[in-house]
């Protein structure tokens, strides 16, 4: 056999090995319909669509799997990615997801309106404890276990004494001119929290315009905001607690402030998907999320819990029952306001 023939044969063999190995390890990860009996007798798996970072939900899944023997397969993506995939599947009659985790009331309203969510069964709703209205939608389609709180963070090495911000209005001080950051207007968390600010008499639209005139630096990610705080490029930020506290635990010289007059809460909701192929497993997972064990697991990964009674990490992090929140916005009004909020924020904050 000539050299070129042998070389080509080796190449083809190598590619064939790769393809064969991959074929052996492949296989649809979509549960087949034959294993999704409505009685749930063979529900050994559960598919979770989530907006969370897989690290955040991993301890909960591990403990759930140990307790019930039900294997959880996770699809983690952006809020829009989760919604797009779910909507495409539901519209085509393909049922893959059992439980969905999505943050933001407007995202949840869109899913409810499209008929993608089923009402929670009584076996789940009976276990949900009474919560602050800031953390509930109150329509029986979902409940929250964690939330993202939008407050103020600052660098403890650079901001001291009377300059330490305590309320949102403190960032209008000349001390902070050009030295603090705010999230970009097209971030759904920032739209909701700024929208809530515009509805408050002591803040309102003039406050946001004032932030822009005081040189607010726009940031695309909360991670960028936090790293800029640590390096000292900025000394303060309006940002979310879930990005700040993990760095505080690691020893970063930053602190998170919860304004006493109130702060914004953007909740992560848990819901049952319409036509879930494993409804009993889904119900079991949703029930597990209300347990102390699941709450502790979420706390260890840095989340803020909406169900009081479980200490957060670190221990000095305040729980939600000690804080005051902005009034939950009317979701339909918020959804309608999004198209006007973005241009307003773009102009006011000089993006």
């Amino acid at each position: 056999m000539s050299k070129i023939h042998s070389r080509v044969a080796v190449s083809i063999a190598a590619i064939a090995v790769v393809v064969t190995m991959s074929a052996c390890s492949s296989g649809s990860s979509t549960p087949s319909s034959s294993s999704t009996a409505s009685t749930g007798k063979t529900e050994g798996t559960l598919t979770l669509y989530t907006e969370r970072d897989p690290q955040e939900i991993a301890p909960v899944i591990t403990d759930f799997e140990e307790k019930t023997g039900i294997q959880v397969q996770v699809f983690a993506s952006t809020a829009a990615g989760v919604a797009a995939k779910l909507e495409a599947e539901e519209a085509s009659g393909v049922h893959t997801a059992d439980v969905i985790e999505e943050s933001g009331d407007t995202n949840m309203l869109a899913l409810e309106t499209a008929g993608n969510l089923a009402k929670l069964p009584k076996s789940v709703t009976s276990l949900i404890p009474k919560q602050d209205p800031a953390f509930t939608r109150g329509n029986g389609y979902s409940f929250s276990v964690t939330t993202t709180l939008v407050g103020i963070a600052y660098n403890t090495n650079l901001v001291k004494g009377k300059n330490i911000p305590k309320e949102f209005t403190d960032l209008l001080s000349p001390y902070f001119k050009g030295k603090f950051s705010v999230p970009i207007s097209t971030n759904s968390t920032s739209i909701q929290s700024f929208y809530q600010m515009t509805k408050l008499s002591y803040l309102g639209k003039k406050y946001i315009t004032g932030l822009g005139n005081n040189g607010a630096v726009i940031s695309a990610h909360s991670g960028d905001q936090v790293s800029s705080l640590i390096t000292g490029d900025q000394v303060a930020a309006i940002t979310n607690d879930n990005a700040v506290w993990p760095q505080i635990v690691n020893g970063a010289p930053i602190k998170f402030v919860y304004p006493s007059k109130g702060l914004a809460a953007v909740n992560a909701y848990e819901a049952l998907v319409t036509g879930a192929p494993h409804p009993k497993a889904a119900a079991a997972f949703l029930q597990f999320l209300t347990t102390k064990k699941a709450q502790q697991d979420l706390a260890t990964t840095g989340s803020t819990l909406t169900i009081p009674g479980t200490p957060l990490v670190p221990a000095n992090r305040p729980t939600v029952d000690k804080l005051k929140f902005f009034t939950n916005p009317d979701t339909a009004a918020l959804l309608a306001a999004q198209s006007t909020m973005v241009p307003f924020l773009t102009t006011a904050l000089h993006e």
Binding site: I4, D53, A76, S77, T186, Q225
Partner: protein, 569 residues
């Protein structure tokens, strides 16, 4: 039909009507595959531009989405985009071209080492690279700015047009290098020697002989970098937002991932970018024209000179400076950051290996690595083989089929990956073929989205190949298949492998489509990257990136070894 040989009797040619007939599917089937691969998703995209609601929700026909082209500061986005892509393309062409010249023509010491090092910036995901540069040139306490202040030099603000253009250019240089290098290697040195013998200096020879011969490669590199930069949003997202810089690609990301999600208007912008790709290709086709750029012929190539002159050491300086700026500095930032509990430029945070431990324990870590490696390698091989056939159609068959293949295969170059991925979901979600819900839909997406990169490299390689070589083989009695396998493939292989290399590292880094298309329980590495970026876990992100860059480096080194073993140049 009988042919005569120089020293033997006439003998029958093993070419029949059957052979002619059976060779046609080899040409038409690859062209037809482009229909479900690219044309149908693009049609879904176009359909989405005329819908009032996202897919899955009740909507109606509307032209309202097109108002995005004259509202919301669209003209400003266009101007910013043009400034960014034009500047980055020019810088990347100059630096990448100089590197390619130096490492193929100037006999630079340790050329093989620098050949590998030149590509390393391309392995670093754009998000990560931009964050690393923000730690180098952060205005207050960046590593480099601290050093500049200490020696009395002015500081550089990375959050500026300079920062955005500079970092974007850095990560485009390897692309240019990968397109120009095989083209330069294929040029017969005797042509340059002839010019020098006639009294022309080195610079004139390069300008009047060498560059015209590699014009297709230069045009291809310029097109790919221009259009790729048009669709790139990560660097602007990290470094440009603070400087009030927004571009079309970032607007598309904002419309598809957060805030008031508006897939209809995002689809309009995606279609506009696809039109730009096609327009850019038209410019390339006209720029190349019907000229001949044959450099791989029947003559023996002169060997590379063994003596070193001033150019060798100039090239060495260029390579060292490039390596320092684009490789050593950002990779050092990644390594340092990966060993810190939180990212600090003052080394006050202490040191830890915990980030690597956390990455090792990341949910689905091994599965992600296995899936990413497998899908990227298969995408690279698939694109390379597919491009080999399609490029043959474009260059040798020409005509309407060639034009169809050329334009369709380049169309996805600038289409935002997330928008294309949603179109793929809608195409495949209800089909009975079992593609949806498996990891193979990601492979289809990678091939569709990254095919333009390998196509440009393969087309350039074919344009440099003299058809007389194929004719000689046919006249000697070889079948088309034998000519293809024994003559064409080895000669165009360096270019095809270069294209496959580009596909490989792009597939490893591809985030937008991966985030939507991967199946539950079958993650890929970009999912972890996105999760860490969105949660601000930058120290862990740096640890992941160090491992990631090392993996891609090993993979590409393997590809390079493969290429050197099989190339005939």
């Amino acid at each position: 039909m009988l042919i005569s040989t120089l020293d033997g009797p006439r003998r029958p040619v093993a070419r029949t009507r059957f052979a002619t007939w059976i060779s046609r599917p080899i040409v038409y089937i690859p062209a037809l595959i482009l229909i479900p691969l690219i044309i149908l998703p693009m049609l879904f995209l176009l359909y989405g531009t005329f819908q009032s609601a996202p897919p899955g929700q009740h909507g109606s026909w509307t032209g309202q989405n097109y108002d995005v082209l004259w509202t919301g500061g669209f003209l400003t986005l266009v101007m910013n985009s043009l400034i960014l892509v034009a500047s980055s393309t020019a810088i990347a062409l100059v630096v990448g071209g100089a590197l390619a010249l130096a490492l193929t023509r100037w006999n630079v010491p340790a050329a093989r080492f620098f050949d590998s090092v030149t590509l390393i910036p391309a392995y670093i995901p754009a998000f990560v690279g931009a964050i690393a540069w923000s730690f180098l040139l952060s205005p207050t306490s960046g590593y480099l700015n601290t050093a500049f202040k200490a020696i009395g030099l002015p500081t550089v603000n990375i959050y500026s047009w300079f920062g955005v253009i500079g970092v974007t250019s850095l990560y485009s240089i390897p692309l240019v290098y990968l397109y120009l290098r095989p083209a330069l290697l294929s040029v017969d040195r005797s042509l340059e020697e002839a010019g020098r013998m006639l009294g022309a200096g080195q610079a004139k020879v390069t300008r009047t002989i060498l560059f015209p011969l590699i014009r297709p490669a230069i045009f291809s590199a310029a097109l790919v970098v221009f259009v790729h930069t048009l669709s790139e949003f990560a660097v602007v997202g990290v470094l440009g937002v603070q400087a009030h810089i927004n571009v079309i690609s970032l607007r598309i990301v904002q419309l598809t991932t957060s805030g008031p999600v508006d897939p209809g208007r995002a689809a309009v912008l995606g279609v506009v970018l696809a039109a730009v790709s096609i327009f850019g290709l038209t410019v390339v086709v006209r720029g190349v024209g019907k000229n001949s750029f044959v450099t791989i012929g029947a003559r023996h190539n002169a060997d590379a000179p063994s003596n070193r002159g001033a150019a060798s050491y100039l090239g060495l300086v260029l390579c060292i400076v490039y390596a320092l700026v684009t490789v050593v500095l950002p990779v050092a930032v990644l390594v340092i950051g990966s060993l810190q509990p939180y990212l600090s430029t003052t080394f006050s945070s202490g040191w830890t290996f915990n980030n690597y431990v956390l990455m090792a324990n990341y949910p689905g870590a091994l599965t992600s690595i296995g899936n990413s490696l497998m899908l990227s390698v298969l995408a690279a091989v698939g694109c390379a083989l597919f491009s080999l056939i399609l490029a043959y159609i474009v260059v040798r068959r020409r005509g309407r089929l060639g034009a169809f293949v050329n334009y369709v295969s380049s169309a996805p170059l600038a289409v935002p990956h997330m928008v294309f991925a949603v179109a793929l979901i809608w195409m495949w979600v209800g089909t009975p073929f079992g593609l949806y819900g498996t990891k193979w839909i990601l492979l289809v997406a990678y091939i569709a989205l990254l095919l333009p990169y390998s196509m440009r490299a393969a087309v350039t390689a074919f344009q440099q190949l003299d058809p007389v070589l194929e004719e000689a083989g046919r006249m000697s009695g070889a079948s088309r298949a034998r000519v293809g396998l024994r003559i064409i493939t080895p000669l165009v292989l360096p270019g095809v492998i270069a294209g496959g290399t580009i596909v490989l590292y792009h597939a490893m880094q591809e985030i937008s489509a991966s985030l939507i298309l991967y199946s539950a329980g079958q993650p890929v590495i970009p999912v972890a990257i996105w999760g860490l970026v969105s949660n601000g876990q930058y120290a862990q992100l740096f640890a992941l990136s160090v491992v990631y860059v090392a993996m891609i480096f090993a993979l590409v080194a393997g590809v390079g070894w493969f290429g050197r073993r099989f190339a005939r140049l």
